[in-house]
Amino acid sequence: MKINKKIINKIEGEATLKIKGEKKIEFVEIEFWQYREMENYLKGRHYMDALVINPRICGICGHSHLYATVRTIEKVFNAKISEKAEIFREVTTLLEIVENHIKWFYITIFPTQITDKEYIFKAVKFSSKISKAIALLAGQFPHNSYMVPGGVTCDPTYMEIMRLKDLIKEIKEEYIKEIMDENLYSKDLSKFFENLPKEIGKGLNKFLVLGESNIFKSNGDYKKITEEKNSSLSKNALYDNEFYEVGPLARMIVNENEKIKKIYNHYKDSIYTRMCARIYEPLILLEYIEKKLNELDLCEPSFIKPDVKEGKAKVSIEAPRGSLIHEISIKNEKIEFYNIIVPTQFNLASSRKKPSPAQAALMGENIEYTDSIFKCFDICAVCMSH
């Protein structure tokens, strides 16, 4: 049987699909070939340098890498941070998730059904505003390093906090009006599904949330994570030797979100449910951010100097596309070892033995739906092949 090679790009990089099948996808392998050796690059460097290098693993979700990096180092040092610093970090990390989902919707997946550059401008309208909100605390976006072991480098006044609150309110109101409202009604999403069936793209129906966060409860234990090589330069991530789906849909299901559950009951984990979850998640996050900003006490210290120690630690946080794991080993203030497992390694693993969530979603579907189904998993190719 002929195997067609198809390069899918515009996914923060590219992936190569090897598709077996003429009209329907009988089997598909997902390969990533752009390898940058980030973990090697970190070896031997001072541990603080990871705070500058790791955000540059990825230009769209780099802030999550920063968060995971600082948390891992703090775990080694057993460092404490103030509540104020923790709130700042949560706010900026969740804002990045909101920005990611908007860009994914309008720039990555929307064009697979509707080509109109107006949607790029719509994405920019939101992303520039959200980046501004992040910069009020973090200095700039993308690529800041304002989180350091012990807290944050910024020391904002009420000027910045009040402005931030106004911005968040505006972002939320515009989101509800122009992207999706509290009842999950979205004009753009309906437009997307005008000519696309809603029940295609069902994955493995197995969900995993590993990140330690205050907003999403997790349902797993990092010790059960393993990595395995696949046919390309990326690695598959498994939990308890099985493939699981991570990401907004997993977060909604594991946390029993009522609105998404209703859609899930009807469509299971199809492309439609997955997209609803990803487009709805920002509303939950924005509301949480507003709540947290009201709990802020500016008198607390931004930074508490930690005791520098040696040792190993592993941490997981919830990044835009799912659970992200960072693992570090520090000796003599230098990085002896660093390992990163990204959410795309779970969702877009590639195996000949058993299917990953994306493989399962693609297999059995019409080839004409490949792009949309593939991209509904929101791939970050540069993270995948770090």
């Binding site: 590219e14 990825c58 109109d116 920019v124 501004k132 910069a135 910024c154 540069v382």
Partner: protein, 288 residues
């Protein structure tokens, strides 16, 4: 009325930070009126084809045996390079190599593969470059205006400045009041936190990032990301020789700088020696 500029924007070895910085440019729709993006690695464009264009934008570094769009990256760039009227090396990776490989005109501080063709090249380093800088170059080329370049082919309008110009902590720099720890709005970051602002070419503190801030305003030192040495070892530490900074502000002799600093350190600025703002603590500053 100028005709639309045909632009091919290609991704070399990159993290796409340059593109995402560009996607923060609020007036992006007016750029689309002046430019045809024949290809872009992230947003909507035509299918990729190797063809002529007015401006080739390369984001990312060159690297051997790296696959891109079914080609070998370096060969692909070479083909595109000679079919373009002008080339914009976008970001520190494309200009000097940065973290991921070699640059187009430079390989760190040495001459790179395309140095001989430098008349065609405009360099816009930065990790990432500011969206206004990118829009500036596109606009200037679209209106057929000459861009004044410095000796490294960087636009002077942007790189004649240093990060230090416009830093809100400049009074602390002047009076040598150093911040010994992170997290305070007071204090200069030059001596204890590794800030490279005084010797880094950029206009970050002039334009501000995202219209509101910059790294030093948020207490993070400038990492010198527009310079060939980025990222250096130990970015949060100031290189010193016997306690004396190894790198001093541009254009000043060591003797002059040490004399000035010594005098500043000997004198006292009372206002800057204490906290700028004091909050009443407890109860989250609620009015009683």
């Amino acid at each position: 009325m100028h005709s639309k500029l045909n632009v091919i924007w290609i991704d070399a070895v990159t993290c796409y930070g340059c593109t995402h910085s560009f996607l923060n440019y609020k007036e992006i729709s007016s750029l689309f009126d002046k430019v045809n993006f024949l290809y872009h690695p992230l947003f909507l464009s035509d299918d990729f084809e190797i063809k002529n264009c007015n401006l080739l934008i390369v984001e990312g570094a060159l690297k051997n045996n790296y696959p891109r769009l079914g080609f070998s990256l370096n060969e692909l760039i070479s083909k595109l390079f000679f079919k373009a009227d002008k080339i914009l090396a976008l970001g520190t990776c494309a200009v000097y190599g940065g973290m991921f490989g070699e640059g187009i005109m430079y390989n760190k501080e040495l001459k790179g593969k395309y140095y001989k063709c430098k008349d065609k090249i405009i360099n816009l380093p930065g990790c990432p470059p500011h969206p206004d800088w990118i829009a500036y170059v596109i606009n200037m080329i679209s209106e057929n205006k000459a861009i004044a370049l410095d000796e490294f082919n960087r636009p002077q309008d942007i790189f004649a400045y240093t990060s230090h110009m416009g830093c809100i902590r400049n009074e602390y720099f002047e009076w040598k009041i150093d911040s010994e720890n992170f997290g305070t709005k007071e204090g200069c970051l030059f001596y204890y936190q590794g800030c490279q602002g005084p010797f880094t070419h950029s206009s970050c503190n002039k334009l501000l990032w995202n219209e509101v801030s910059s790294k030093p305003r948020a207490g993070t030192p400038c990492f010198g990301c527009t310079e060939p040495s980025f990222p250096k070892d130990e970015l949060f530490k100031t290189d010193t020789f016997m306690g004396i900074p190894a790198n001093i502000p541009l254009g000043v002799s060591k003797r002059a700088y040490l004399t000035l600093s010594g005098i500043a350190k000997s004198l006292n600025n009372e206002r800057l020696s204490v906290q700028l703002i004091e909050y009443e603590c407890g109860d989250k500053n609620e009015n009683k």
